[in-house]
Structure formats: C-alpha cells, structure tokens
C-alpha cells in the first residue's frame, strides 16, 4: 500500500518537474518570440547592427590601420569622464586597435593617443603635450588624435 502510494507520488513529482521545465522554457520562448517567429527577419534586423560593429569599429578603423604592428602608446582619455565611462573608452581602444598596447598611467611616451569622445578636439593653447615637444600627427576628427614627439 505504502510502496504503491510512493510510486504515485514519484510519478507525480516527475510530472511536476516536467511541467515546471516546460513552463520555464515557455517563458524563455516568450522572451525570444520575435526571433522564433521569423528568424530571418530577426537576423537582418540585428546582425552587425550592434554598437561595437556599427559605431566603434568604424571609429577606430583609422587608428588600427595606422598601427598595424605592436606599438607602445600612451593613452589619454577624456578629462572629466567618470570612472566607468573612462574605463569603457579605454577598453574599446585596446580591443579595437590592438595589437598595439595602450598604456594608461603614463604621459611621456613618444607616441600618444587622445581619446576625446566628447570634446573631439584638443585645446591647443594649454595642452601639456603640444607645449612640451609633441605635435599632432593625425587627427581623425572623431576625438581620436595621435601625437608624436
């Protein structure tokens, strides 16, 4: 009698488990229903439309081509950026313009990259580097400026 009851309970548990899993996956399906309903349209809508591919890769393309081999370059970010924004822009630079190494805590390398994503241009009058022997080699007009000594 007891073992019979236990078997029913065990089958009930299995049914409950399967129902729970199916429900969980139904919720997942609901979250992605746009894709499941029309995968081709979904792919066309989103593929290569992400921020990294559309905006950032284009922005850094010139810098990447300018340094195709490993170079050691000092990195100057946007003054006044909060830490997460500064850090994100520094990481984007390293990721998209590698294999060059961008050194963040140094200001006296022969080559320097300014990443002024917001102010876009260097203030030529009071810039430390321009007043101390560096000159602008290339201004990509998108906030990325390469200086050399």
């Amino acid at each position: 009698m007891y073992s019979h009851l236990l078997k029913y309970l065990q089958n009930g548990l299995l049914l409950l488990l399967i129902s729970f899993m199916a429900w969980q996956q139904w919720k997942t399906f609901q979250k992605y229903k746009e894709g499941f309903h029309n995968p081709v349209a979904y792919t066309k809508k989103y593929y290569e439309k992400d921020y990294m591919t559309t905006v950032l890769a284009t922005r850094y393309e010139g810098l990447r081509k300018m340094f195709p081999h490993t170079s050691h370059i000092c990195y100057i970010g946007e003054p006044g950026d909060d830490f997460p924004t500064w850090s994100a822009n520094y990481s984007f630079t390293q990721y998209l313009a590698s294999p060059s190494v961008f050194i963040k805590d140094k200001i006296d390398c022969d080559t320097i990259v300014y990443n002024l994503h917001w102010s876009i241009h260097i203030n030529t009058k009071n810039n430390y580097h321009l007043n101390n022997g560096w000159h602008i080699v290339k201004d990509f007009n998108n906030g990325l400026i390469v200086l050399a000594r």
């Binding site: 065990q10 089958n11 488990l17 399967i18 969980q24 989103y46 990294m52 520094y90 990721y95 590698s98």
Partner: protein
Amino acid sequence: MIFLISILTSFLLGILLCKILFKEFANYAPRFLVNSSIPIGIGVSSIIFIVFNLLGVSTLFVILIEIVFILFLFYKYGNPFKSIIKNTLENKIFSINTLAKNPLLLLLVIVYFYSLLLDIGVYYFDSVKEPHGLWDAWADWNLGAKMIGRDPVNWPDSFHQLVSEDFHTDYPLLQKGYIARCWILLKNETVWIPIAFSFIFTFCAIGLLSAAVSYFTNKIQGLIAGLILLCTPFFMLLGDSQYADNTVGYFFLASIVLLTLARKDSATKPGLLIASGLTAGLAAWSKNEGLLFIVCLLTSQLTLLFFKNPKELFTEVKYLIIGMLPILALIIYQKIAISPPNQIVVGQGPQTLIKIKDFSRYEIIWSWYKEQFVIFGQWAFNPWWLFLLGILFKGGISIKKYSYSFIANVTWLILMLVGFFIVEIITPLDLVFYLSTSLHRLFAQLFPSFIFIYFVALKNNSTVISIPNGRTRKQNGRTLKNFKLSKIFKRTD
C-alpha cells in the same frame, strides 16, 4: 580549407586521446565519448598551439605537427571510428515502442528535445544581437585572442605590459589561444569563431552531464539532469556571452565524472585517472578558478585516507598528477614569463590580516551566498525545492554504491565554496562590486558538477554493472524496453 582541416585535427585529436585513455568504456558510451572528446581536443590543440608558438613555430606548421601526431596515433591504436559508429547505432536513447507505451516518458523526451532546440535558438539570437559577446568576453578573452592573432610573435610582451586589472591578461590561454589559432588560419577575425567555441562548451556540458548521469543511474535521470541545465537561463546566458565560465565549468564536470568512473570498481584504472588529471589541467588552462579546482581536487582525495588503502589512493593521485603535470608546467611558465602580476595576489600585504579579522566581511559574503542560493540561475521559480523533493521522494541519499567518489566529490564541492569564500575575504577589490560581478558566475561553474554529484548520490539508482564484458548496455536496453511508469524510480538492476 586549411582552417577546416585544423578544426578536424582538433576534434580527431580529442577523439583519439579519449579512445586511448578510456579504452573499453568509450566503446560502450559513444555519447559520453563525443561530448568529452571535442572539448578535450580543443583544449589540447590550444596547448599545442601556444607551446609551439612560444618556440617560434608558425601556426601552419603546428597543424602539420598535429596531423603527424594523429597519424601516429592511428597507426599505433587503429581506427577508433569503427566501434564508435557501431555502438552509436546500437545505443538508441529510447525505442519508439517504449515511448508509445509510456506517455510520461514520451513527454520527458519531447520536453528535452524542445528545450534543446529552444536553447540553440536562444544562443543564436543572443549571438546575433551581441556578436562580440558581453564585456568580459571582448575585453578579456577576445582581446587576448586578437593580440595573439594579430602579432603571433610579440604577444607575450604585450600581455606583460597590460595591467591585469583592466584586461586580465594574466588569465590562462585555452580560450584565447584556440580562438587566435582559428583566426590565424582563417585569415579573418570572424565573430563566429568565439561564438562557436562557447557553443561547443555550453552544449557539450549538457551532453556530458546527461550521458554521465544516464551511465551511472538510468537514462531517465540522465534526461532530467540534462534538462535541468537546459532550463537554466543563466547557464545559456553565460554561454552566449562568450565568457569562460562554462568552459571551466565543463572541465570541472569532466574531471569529476572521469574520476568517479575510475573509481566505479576496485581496480585502478590509469587511463581514466590520467584523463581526469588532463581535464583538471585543462580547467586550470581555462581560467584561474581551475587552479583552485586542482588544489581542492587533490585535497579532497586526502579525505579518502580515512577510508581507503593509502597505497591504492596514492597510486590514483599519482596518475591524476601525471595527467595534469604537463599543463601545470605550461601554466607555471605562463604565470612567470608572460602574465602581468595578478591583481588579487599583488593586493595582498598587511591589509590581508586586517581583512581576515574583519568579521563584517564574513557577514557580507555570507548574505550574498544566501541571496545567490535563492536567485541563482535566473529561473522563473526557485529550483532548489525540486532537488529537495527529489531526495525526499527517492528515499534519501545513498553513499554505498559510489562511496569513495561520493565522499571525495562532496568534499571537493565544499572546498570549492570555501575557497571562493576565502578569496572573497582577502580580495583587494571593493567587496560588494567583486561579489556582484563574480559570485553568480562562480556558482554557475559548479552547477553542472553539483547536478552530477546529486543524481549519482540519489537512492534507488539503477546501477551499472561491469563494463568490459559488454553486458551492461544490453541489460539497460532490456530494462528500458519493458519500461513502465510505475518503474520510473525503481532499481532496474
């Protein structure tokens, strides 16, 4: 073409190595073999690539070396595919007759395959939206791969120059090395390589878990175990984010499964123990947590000193170490010669003692552990009660059958949690930031292994009898043919 050959060589290498190390077992568990050999092949190929790259050998020549090695293995051990194909055909999951007679079983199989297809879709859709992966993927793993791929000569110096805190260039090189290897041979930095890499590890973890649980218990429990992982949204998210947590979690699982398999009966099995050591080494080659894994794995074996013949135990540990030693040597070289200093190691000093004495840190970490326990997995509903109900309905946990493995595996799991806890106590990073960005991923690394340990420990499992004589699978097959709903949880041996 060369790229396709290089992928094939990785997979072949894995299949041959597993076939040699598992020998008879591989013949009777083709699903297990497939799900273990491909990731192991990728790991070994990554090691070969990095070693020869550091020696100044070109990537193309590395592939030639791999091909020569594969031909040698073929010559020495014969064609492994004959038996694999034959046994795959023989080992159908369930016959149609069985399914037709058992609606509950049919429902389980349908939900399993529905979940599998759904997760493949989810993986694809997330990858299309974020092809570079989430932050850690592009800023750590894919960045490292780009640096190796774009300058295969000077990358060690570049890695050393970068600060570990920003790009984690001190992390091991399995993922970075293999992706770079593919990009170099393809001459194209396509995002589909890291996407495919993470896909393999994510879905092989599910396949390996399911195959291993069905091998140790029965096919129904195997399906349930795989289904739990398939239905964990966070596990899929970690995969399509291209993080290395699923990679390291895969190797934790593989190592634990192989070790349990090696201890299935009293005879020492050097091949399986070496394979377990190899996968432990590959875990350490995937992520720094793998180093903690090795320490905990070896320490957990020491608990068996109270239960097992010490001589026998030391022989087992010896084979484990033999399996992981070459990889450990490479990791030591990488840490000394290539990596910048690790931020957690560098951050230690007089403050460490202050942190250890600061009990408020313990309280904070403990509260995070409790919270993660409740919200883990991003399930719509907390799943832990299912595990508790499982124990209740199955009449508890049995440690008789696989007692040595159970003791060692549970000790390992506890040691890992304690290890994570200690690292969190002494971390120089902001504690709450560190916990909020890492704890859920650390839990996810352990989750597949936890499911495996749980199912093998459950009472009333249908046990697998000795493998080499080949009777086992047939016996299982016969049992399943006569499957009835009322026998779902009944012993079938």
